[in-house]
Amino acid sequence: MADLTSSFCGIKSPNPFWLASAPPTDKEYNVRRAFEAGWGGVVWKTLGVEGPPIVNVNGPRYGAIWGADRRLLGLNNIELITDRPLEINLKEMRQIKKDFPDRALVASVMVPCEEIYWKDIIPQIAETGVDGFELNFGCPHGMSERGMGSAVGQVPEYIEMVTKWCKESTDLPVIVKLTPNITNIIYPATAAKNGGADAVSLINTISSIVSVDLENMAPNPTIDGKGTAGGYCGPAVKPIALNMVAQIARTDVTAGLPISGIGGITTWRDAAEFMALGAGNVQVCTAAMTYGFNIINEMTSGLSSWMDENGYTSVDQLVGKAVPNVTDWQYLNLNYITKARIDQEKCIGCGRCYAACEDTSHQAITMSEDRVFDVKDDECVACNLCVNTCPVDDCITMVQLLPGQIDERTGQVVAEEYGNWTEHPNNPSKVAAE
């Protein structure tokens, strides 16, 4: 059995699956159920300043998009940070840590961007016995209008400044949660690192309008005829999150900074992908909100089985394994040539590959009267669109032309050597070969 125990910037947990700071970690009741179900850790719902707690809307706070059979693909929310008094949260956190000492308990924090607030609250929270902090610089709605959340996360200087204040206030690990609502994730990640962050976590939700109620002409969720931008999450955001995680993992200035991967993780496979791209652990929210806490059992058993089958004995061995293979476009091998191949045994004759190629791609698939589809090698640019639109697994595949073979599209012999854009004759900035 693969060892799933995790040590993320010094915070230990029996598995690398944490629940992200969100409604599932709002209070002792939920967190207790989550730990009983088997979650490795939780990041408690974001705590704010002492005093009257914030208020939430009293109409709908979530909106969603669905796939077939109302499978939830994307969720959007306009909920704010905890709306419960600080002292109650702290009391419950202390109890939870006492009852579940082997699980990770991290406090998410968001207070106004003034030193006194941060330096006041961090030690208070530390007394509960939490294992670390996560600075919420991500929320894109409500709190950002008050100069917090993503309003901080969008200004690298603020990130660095607040991170420093926190590091000065505690010896516990400080994780900086990043917003994806920026142009280049490297800037905020670098700022966190410069501020002394022990890790970053990403992504927080993406600023979004999930849909429009065409009857009432208002965004969803609609509150008394009005709607506002919310934070988008769930399976639909995973590709965006994967890219940002990979960018941080492979860019020199941020490489090595521990990453807690967040964004649409629904299955063990999603988690493995995040970890392969450099995430040291993962945080889950929407999947738990959709299916309940028991999904953790699929995640741990799936990851463990897959690791066993592939010879990984600990999660550390997986982390970052795919990072060396993430590169820039200009370094992709232009001499690697493939052609689409259709398995006629598997083909069910739907013709989607034909429609896609004929209407929107390179007119490289032929269709016979009796609905046999074939690839024209002299037109196929290997775009992969047919593979992506085909409803049958492995019916269309991309097969490599070996060096020495002729690419019928160009009439050229496939070269053996690697050759990329930087040295391509069509590249005006080509560096002349020595």
Partner: protein
């Protein structure tokens, strides 16, 4: 539950009302909107879709299914009805397992086609329930066309002709419209008086008048129609049935299956219908299946379909045969009747096995003959082919200004959907011909 299925002789009220109601409820319950969304999502929106090719009325099936999945069932129904004005009935009675759903690529992929028939029913039901008739007539052509028969072919022709601006008079021998939709389809395929509702909805197009109780050759003549109208469309169906021509055929309780089904469809109370304890159905088409299944559902103890050829040759689809078996109907193949035995009513039937040349006997107190329908006598001026009206590819007969379509013609399968297609296409040709377009 009362059940006196073993009491001999055709007998009414073998089952109580609760059992009858259950037995004759919808064969395939309709999809609700969520089920329709899930079913619609399975459609791959195939290029040049095989299901469309397989549909005699060429409904744009991927389009109507996509319209369901985008929440526009009324627009979806319009797509269906544009091609097939009786799309609601066809959704219920089409042998989809040998048409669109057999061609569906998911049938090939998984053995589970997209539920095209049920989706078509969903969309058309929504439209019928909002009582919308989304067609508007073209400006009047001042042409008058007679349509003989208010069955699927005649109704489809009439609607298309009216749509194109012509005035139509339908003459039908019965007292109600619908033809086989009303008198011939199994009751559990057309529940809640759907055939009548559909005709009432169809007539909302305007410009169509129906005269009932008018039989061609008895109450009016083809030449009379040709004098009075600009064109004539004959969709008279097949008004007669074949006989077995064997001893004992005139005994009591020997009945044509068509008549049995028709009285069942018209019954105010199914408990009033008489059915035997040992019912034998002779034949192998849909009429045989429908008669056999409904006999069983009325409470017959034993129902056996005897077909003279092999299981593979049976015109009723395997799906229909399976349905009948699931209801308890037995099948005997490769056997033909040689004698009906009895005194006043029948008591048994002697059969000959056509492969082994052996004879056997089945006890029977009710025999239903379903060996095929044939034409009523027809006006002599119409040419025949295979004992049906000869038409060309535009459904024109040999007589000037006379078209024909549906079961009474020599081309196409005898299916509701084929009749609709022929009626529609004949109408288009009539209109083009009268307006001088061709």
């Amino acid at each position: 539950m009362s059940n006196n299925s073993e009491v001999g002789g055709p007998l009414a009220g073998r089952l109580d009302q609760i059992s009858l109601k259950k037995n004759f409820s919808d064969l395939h319950p309709p999809l609700d909107s969520h089920e329709a969304a899930v079913a619609a999502d399975r459609c791959y929106f195939c290029y040049d879709a095989p299901c469309v090719t397989a549909c005699p009325t060429d409904i744009d099936i991927p389009l109507f299914i996509r319209q369901i999945s985008t929440g526009m069932p009324v627009a979806s129904a319009k797509t269906i009805l544009d091609q097939n004005i009786l799309g609601g009935m066809c959704a219920r009675v089409c042998p989809t397992e040998t048409l669109c759903e057999e061609a569906c690529v998911r049938e090939k992929a998984e053995g589970k086609p997209v539920q095209i028939g049920l989706l078509q029913r969903y969309a058309t039901d929504v439209l019928m329930n909002v009582d919308d008739h989304p067609f508007e007539r073209a400006p009047s052509t001042n042409k008058k066309i007679a349509v003989v028969g208010a069955g699927p072919a005649g109704l489809a022709a009439a609607h298309r002709l009216a749509l194109l601006g012509n005035n139509v008079v339908i003459l039908d021998a019965k007292e109600k419209p619908g033809g086989l939709n009303e008198f011939g389809i199994a009751a559990y395929k057309s529940t809640n008086d759907f055939a009548q509702k559909e005709v009432a909805w169809l007539l909302k197009i305007g410009g169509i008048k129906i005269n009932y109780g008018k039989l061609l050759g008895r109450d009016f003549s083809l030449s009379g129609l040709r004098d009075e109208y600009d064109a004539v469309f004959i969709g008279a169906g097949l008004g007669n049935v074949r006989s077995l021509d064997i001893d004992g055929e005139s005994l009591g309780n020997v009945q044509d299956a068509v008549e049995f089904i028709s009285s069942l469809r018209q019954a105010e109370d199914l408990a009033d219908l008489e059915v035997g304890s040992n019912v034998v159905v002779i034949g192998g088409g849909m009429t045989a299946i429908d008669a056999a299944v409904q006999s069983k559902l009325l409470g017959a103890h034993d129902v056996t379909v005897v077909y003279r050829r092999s299981v593979e040759e049976m015109p009723a689809s395997l799906y229909e045969q399976e349905l009948a078996k699931s209801k308890g109907v037995k099948f005997i193949y490769n056997s033909r009747p040689v004698q009906i035995v009895g005194t006043e009513g029948i008591s048994s039937i002697k059969f000959q096995n056509t492969q082994h040349d052996t004879e056997f006997s089945l006890p029977a107190d009710h025999l239903l003959k379903a060996i095929g329908q044939i034409m009523d006598e027809l006006p002599l001026e119409l040419s025949r082919e295979n004992n049906k009206i000869k038409v060309d590819e535009n459904f024109k007969t040999d007589v000037a200004n006379v078209w024909a379509g549906g079961d009474c013609t020599s081309i196409g399968e005898d299916l509701t959907v084929t009749a609709v297609a022929q009626g529609r296409d004949a109408a288009i040709n009539i209109h083009a011909s009268l307006s001088g377009e061709i």
